[in-house]
């Protein structure tokens, strides 16, 4: 029978094996963005795994079985909690792990264990369930302000359609040019699309999942899936990598079955529309662009080529690459719901992205994630290096017109 106090209870079999499989080689530190800006090995992936193994030993080891579970040092638990929440959960460590530990999934599950023990989450992350319950979004902003500040007046939303667009909370409240660009481009493609009313388009659950607060997830996800189902949706389009990630990976689990629609990232839809000439690039751009892969889009769900195809289709554009791109991209600092708690780390990481874009000679830094968009823009303030930042659909919306086919 499972020990109710066990540290292993919330982890799957393969995750427990992953904890044991860490060879402590430390290769992952070279890829950890938090290490880049803090240089503190105590919050590194192998150290977190080593400490969590100690916790499991304390509750599941031989001594615990013979003499009962001992108390784990409170200070050690608190230090671990801080370390696991300081992580941006970007998953670069796992991508480069010599044994392939799936850290982008492991860290949130370790966070969930800390939440069960009343130690996590940290700071304002703890307010998210209450805010989502009250307002539908983790920012605590009124539902009435979700779409109205940015939604283009000339775009029509269908009552029901095969296609639906989910704007997401971060885009709607913190990255208006991005979601406005999404809607303008979808409208230009010309296929009717529907959206839920602002009070019904609640949080996708990602900030709760990533911070280990899983209690509300089932309810939120069922509400959203049933609402789209009621509108006859066959394809749900979203531009936020975090939303897309949880929709694809976790919505079916919390919904209890396969989703009644497929989920697509907007860059996939737009790339196809350009290829099929339903969307035409009517203007060019004589610029060098550099594209930053969002961690949860590239490493998370494998959408890497489509944003590049879209950018390369713009006449005159020269597309540059970061040294680490695609599945190996470096986190901009806003991941893991850590950006508002470990603000200085996030700004420093964002500035590394800006510095590299400037060093490569890019005219514009192209992003495709609302969290990246908000934080990298923030990191630019007061920084000695400057580059224009643009969201991929924001950029595209000024250059496209409807095609003939």
């Amino acid at each position: 029978m499972k020990n109710k106090n066990s540290f292993s209870r919330g982890l799957s079999r393969i995750q427990l094996m992953e904890l044991d499989a860490c060879t402590q080689c430390g290769e992952c530190l070279k890829f950890c963005p938090v290490q880049d800006v803090t240089g503190n090995p105590l919050i590194s992936p192998p150290e977190k795994i080593r400490v969590f193994r100690e916790f499991i030993r304390a509750t599941d080891g031989l001594k615990a079985r013979l003499f009962g579970t001992g108390e784990v040092d409170r200070r050690l638990l608190e230090d671990f909690t801080k370390a696991v929440y300081e992580c941006t959960t970007c998953g670069a460590c796992g991508q480069n792990c010599t044994v392939g530990i799936f850290t982008q999934r492991l860290w949130p599950m370790l966070r969930a264990e800390m939440v069960r023990r009343g130690l996590g989450p940290i700071g304002i992350q703890a307010e998210m369930p209450g805010l989502i319950d009250k307002t539908g979004n983790p920012y605590g902003k009124p539902a009435g302000e979700r779409f109205s500040p940015w939604f283009p007046g000339n775009v029509r939303i269908a009552e029901s359609a095969d296609i639906a667009y989910y704007a997401g909370c971060s885009g709607s409240y913190e990255a208006h040019p991005m979601v406005k660009g999404d809607v303008l481009v979808l409208d230009t493609i010309g296929e009717p699309f529907t959206m839920l009313p602002p009070e019904a388009e609640v949080c996708c659950g990602f900030p709760l999942f990533i911070t280990g607060q899983h209690d509300m997830l089932e309810d939120l996800i069922k509400r959203l899936v049933d609402a789209y189902k009621a509108r006859g949706v066959k394809t749900l389009i979203c531009s936020c990598p975090c939303c897309v990630n949880i929709m694809v990976r976790d919505w079916p689990i919390f919904y209890g079955s396969d989703l009644p629609f497929k989920v697509r990232h907007i860059s996939q839809v737009v790339s196809e529309a350009i290829q099929e000439k339903r969307l035409v690039l009517s203007k060019g751009l004589q610029e060098k662009l550099i594209y930053h892969d969002p961690c949860y889009l590239s490493r998370g769900v494998g959408v890497i080529e489509e944003p590049r195809r879209v950018l390369k289709s713009i006449p005159g554009v020269e597309l540059l690459e970061f040294d680490r791109h695609g599945v190996n991209s470096r986190c901009c600092g806003s991941g893991g719901a850590a950006r508002k708690v470990f603000h200085e780390n996030a700004i420093a990481m964002g500035r590394l992205t800006i510095d590299e874009a400037v060093a490569k000679g890019a005219d514009r830094l192209v992003l495709s994630c609302p969290a990246c968009y908000a934080k990298v823009n923030e990191a630019m303030l007061g920084h000695d290096k400057q580059v224009r930042i643009v969201d991929i659909m924001e950029l595209l919306s000024d250059l496209v017109e409807r095609g003939q086919s």
């Binding site: 499989a21 402590q24 530190l29 080891g61 530990i101």
Partner: protein, 226 residues
């Protein structure tokens, strides 16, 4: 002294088995993960990647060209050294164990060189390097084991028949005296010291590597195939 060594061997061995049992129990009583996008292990790509990762440490090679030769030759050498040592544990020793003896002897040298390289890389390339003290401890014990083994092979040969009788005596619960000489006792004690610290990744890493290959190969199923 011999009795103490024999008792210690039984205690360490039992502790090792208990440890393996506890780990296995934790794994076996845990739940399977709910949803996965992964290719079957039977697919050629997944199988190939898994084999490359397990046999040739593909990811380590991609990340660290300096550590890779140390790590790869260490594991390969250790495998052959352990195979060579089977002659002390099996009576009669099978023909295949006799065949690999020359390779085992050669592996004894490469094992030592590989360990020195690993420790040097770990300690000398400080920048962005996580130093695991337990890992360094294990490497140091292995280095001492390897060094004492080489000394016995080349300079201070113990009575091999007596050594085999001693080991077989422990395995068959009919204790025999250990061969005289400090080096054999030291080598044996280092082996006993190592056993409780045998990293658990040797049991779990192959499964995790296979799972990672299935997951990486399956990433296209999420957004591109459905």
């Amino acid at each position: 002294m011999d009795i103490l060594l024999i008792l210690l061997a039984y205690i360490v061995y039992i502790a090792f088995l208990v440890r393996v049992f506890i780990h296995a129990r934790i794994w076996l009583t845990a739940e399977e993960q709910s949803v996965t996008y992964r290719r079957p292990l039977s697919s050629i790509n997944t199988c190939g990647i898994t084999a490359l990762d397990i046999l040739f440490f593909r990811k380590l090679f991609a990340n660290d060209k300096l550590l890779w030769p140390g790590s790869w030759f260490f594991h390969l050498s250790l495998f052959f050294v352990l195979l060579r040592h089977l002659r002390f544990f099996l009576q009669p020793a099978p023909a295949c164990v006799a065949v690999i003896q020359p390779y085992g002897i050669f592996a004894g040298y490469t094992l030592f060189i590989a360990l020195v390289l690993i420790i040097a890389v770990r300690l000398l390339t400080w920048k962005k390097r996580y130093v695991s003290y337990s890992n360094l401890f294990i490497l140091s014990v292995l280095l001492l084991l390897s060094f004492s083994g080489l000394l016995m092979r080349n300079f201070f040969r113990p009575d091999l028949l007596q050594a085999k009788a001693f080991i077989l005596g422990i395995l068959t619960f009919r204790p025999e005296a250990a061969p005289s000489g400090f080096l054999f006792v030291f080598h044996f004690l280092m082996a006993l010291l190592l056993l409780p610290y045998v990293p658990s990744h040797i049991f779990s890493a192959p499964f995790v590597i296979a799972e990672a290959a299935r997951r990486e190969e399956g990433i296209g199923m999420m957004m591109h195939e459905k």
